[in-house]
């Protein structure tokens, strides 16, 4: 009796979760399905997920040749890496200073970081656009990177982790003649890898997915990151060809999804931490 009850309960759990999983996965499945089909088949009334005539090769080939898809992807990688490297180079020393050094104005400076944490980035778009215009860097990688070179969230998160590292370790390093700069990179960062990874994932995912800022500063396809690139493809004359368009969309979503499947826990930690900021 008891085991029967257990069985029904377990079946009910799976039944509902499978339904909600289908809801979550449907756009992915549909996107892949369309990317494998020929235009004729899409408009047939009889519906199937798996194509009768497998046109994947044509669709994906056309996505890569008729739109600079590879360029968009490489732009995305380049911009995300550049942003992350500069962010860490600027935020880590500052987080160390705030966590372990006493200096005049440190409290006021930390308050400034906290205030910056409360400003949504879309609010800064207009003045930053004007800044990029004055600097003459509209339509360039520099415009995509510049607004994000400092991350208040990065400073805040790293400071939390650095604070938890015992002072004795810092003192010992100083006695060994390690410079303050050396302490940041050779001791603090390696000892805070969970925080660094979480921040790296948060930063890379946000900028790979960002559409708002690129739409403001980039008009040339040469510099478009993946999200803006697929929108240009969609709005262009080939946008009505669902096969190649969906093939392009799959290629743009795929890198993050693959990375996520390999490091699920780290991704979830990074992205929830980011939202909680």
């Amino acid at each position: 009796m008891n085991s029967l009850l257990h069985l029904t309960r377990s079946a009910g759990r799976h039944a509902i979760l499978v339904l909600t999983s289908i809801f979550a996965l449907l756009p992915f499945i549909w996107m892949i399905s369309l990317s494998l089909k020929s235009p004729g088949e899409m408009f047939q009334s009889a519906f199937s997920l798996w194509p009768e005539h497998f046109t994947a090769v044509e669709n994906y080939a056309q996505a890569f040749t008729s739109a600079p898809l590879l360029r968009f992807l490489l732009n995305g990688v380049f911009v995300c890496v550049a942003i992350l490297v500069v962010q860490l180079a600027i935020c880590a020393p500052c987080a160390y200073a705030l966590a372990k050094l006493r200096f005049r104005g440190s409290e006021g400076f930390f308050a400034l970081v906290l205030v910056a944490l409360f400003i949504p980035h879309q609010v800064l778009a207009l003045p930053l656009f004007i800044l990029c215009y004055k600097l003459g860097i509209l339509n360039s990688y520099a415009a995509l990177v510049l607004p994000f070179i400092v991350s208040p969230f990065g400073i805040f998160l790293l400071r939390q982790f650095f604070k938890a590292i015992p002072d004795d370790i810092v003192h010992a390093a100083r006695l060994d003649g390690v410079s303050e700069f050396g302490i940041v990179w050779r001791i603090m960062m390696p000892m805070s890898m969970p925080a660094v990874t979480a921040f790296a994932i948060f930063s890379a995912v946000s900028h790979w997915n960002d559409l708002f800022w690129p739409m403001i500063v980039i008009t040339s396809e040469r510099f478009m990151p993946p999200s803006q690139g697929i929108v240009a493809f969609h709005n262009g004359e080939l946008g009505i060809q669902y096969g190649p368009l969906m093939a392009g969309a799959v290629m743009i979503v795929a890198p993050l999804l693959c990375a996520f499947l390999f490091a699920q826990r780290k991704f979830i930690a990074g992205l929830t931490l980011g939202g909680v900021k």
Partner: protein, 309 residues
């Protein structure tokens, strides 16, 4: 003895002062790049946006004049802005309850058993991190009036269908459905974290008090203990709903008939398409005040949650 001790002290003091001095300069040197960047890229633009909102500046124009609160007064009586604000609120009210309930239900169901936990968690989290620009295109195809899978499925069930994203009565609910899809996995993850920190003894205590069924445990322990998490999820999902932009700008461009104009999209078009910079800045200020007041509320709840635990 005394001599040696004091000599040591003196050496120690000198060393300490030197170290303090070194710390002082190192502190300033190490935080200088971040301080300059924060001032230039966060503080100055925020001040600038308030300043620009008080002018009649049009992007590209050579001159501008100070017009006080005129932009804000114009906002108050602008039917387009009112429509955009209303749409944002309606969108949020459509997305929020469904997202919170669905996220909570999925989290509870995942935790209630042992099998396939990791699979379900991953499956529901995928929409949170997938590039929305690409997913919006897939959603557009799902809701396509002739080839769309969802339209076909609903039609075969006898539900009257329409061109969901081009009909001004269905466009906002359709976008909200996409918003729910994007966010409920996020709510789920936060609820899962909240469930992890409920002390197991509470369930034992509830059992002693006669809470036998799973429903009793849910009502007397789980849901009350999830209270702070629920508040927190509510605010985060509200913030994310107020910031909706990608789906609107790709699929509907605010149409048809401004039926899907939302705050951030209006901010974008006023500032960068119509180049009414001063007016766009005023909308930005309204947006900033809404978002920051919600974030302040969130911080206060977070503080309380820390005390609670």
């Amino acid at each position: 003895m005394v001599m040696i001790a004091s000599a040591d002290d003196a050496a120690l003091c000198r060393g300490a002062t030197r170290r303090n001095f070194a710390q002082l300069t190192a502190g300033h040197l190490l935080s200088l790049p971040a301080a300059v960047a924060l001032l230039l890229l966060f503080v100055a633009p925020t001040i600038a946006i308030f300043g620009i909102a008080l002018t009649d500046w049009q992007l590209g124009a050579d001159d501008l004049s100070f017009i006080g609160l005129k932009n804000f007064r114009a906002l108050l009586v602008d039917p387009d802005f009112y429509q955009s604000l209303r749409n944002s609120v309606v969108y949020t009210l459509l997305v929020l309850p469904a997202t919170v309930c669905l996220g909570l239900a999925v989290a509870l169901l995942i935790e209630s058993g042992r099998s396939f936990r990791a699979f379900y968690r991953a499956a529901h989290f995928l929409p949170v991190m997938a590039t929305m620009a690409a997913m919006a295109i897939s959603w557009e195809a799902l809701l396509h009036p002739t080839i769309g899978l969802l339209t076909q499925a609903l039609a075969s069930l006898g539900v009257p269908t329409t061109n969901w994203l081009k009909n001004q009565h269905t466009v906002l609910p359709a976008l909200a459905a996409i918003g729910i899809w994007q966010n409920f996995g996020y709510a789920m993850v936060l609820f899962l974290a909240g469930l992890k920190v409920i002390p197991p003894d509470l369930y034992e205590a509830a059992a002693v008090d006669g809470a036998d069924s799973a429903f009793d445990r849910l009502r007397t322990v789980t849901l009350p203990m999830l209270g702070p998490t629920t508040m927190f999820v509510t605010i985060i999902i509200t913030l994310r709903s107020l910031e909706v932009f990608d789906t609107v700008s790709i699929i509907t461009q605010g149409g048809p008939e401004k039926a899907s104009e939302v705050l951030l999209y209006t901010l974008y078009t006023e500032s960068f398409s119509y180049l009414r910079t001063g007016y766009g800045a005023a909308i930005t200020v309204v947006f900033l005040l809404m978002v920051t007041s919600l974030m302040l509320l969130q911080t206060r709840i977070m503080d309380r949650r820390v005390h609670y635990a």
